[in-house]
Point group: C2
Chain length 88, copies 2
């Protein structure tokens, strides 16, 4: 188990979260408000400066109108795709 947050998995994860937000047409500030957190919080986790646990991701997904299970499924697909693309 990697201890670094600079692996492709983490990169894909962050991109997925940001994509979900922008798809909904929300700014970091707008999302942060529905979450009851400061804008810097959203910025930090999208950049990878702050880790999110499963329950937090679930809350974010809910704020963005997507069930956690749906998000995770897409995430798995994206991670697989990113691995396929990687040269060995």
């Amino acid at each position: 188990m990697s201890k670094s947050i600079f692996t492709s998995e983490y990169a894909v994860f962050r991109d997925s979260l940001r994509e979900l937000r922008t798809e909904k047409g929300l700014t970091q500030s707008q999302l942060s408000e529905t979450l009851g957190m400061p804008q810097s919080f959203v910025s930090k986790y999208e950049i990878g400066e702050r880790r999110l646990d499963m329950i937090e991701v679930r809350a974010i997904c809910q704020s963005l109108g997507t069930p956690l299970s749906v998000f995770v499924k897409k995430l798995e697909t994206s991670i697989s795709a990113s691995k396929k693309g990687a040269r060995t």
Copy 2:
């Protein structure tokens, strides 16, 4: 978004992870070894003394032979169930 890890969601999450391990008949030490982490790591996250991010949970699920998406789906079901049961 709650900042506490002492909500029913977190409790259900922890129980689910422990259940997944015991179902596979593994001890904390055995799992920790496949993860390349100390036994105290497994103990801590099962107790809630240590948070796990999505990618870490994914690695644990893989070590336990269960896709993350499957785990998450069960988790959602369990959380819903725990909410249904809660008195208002």
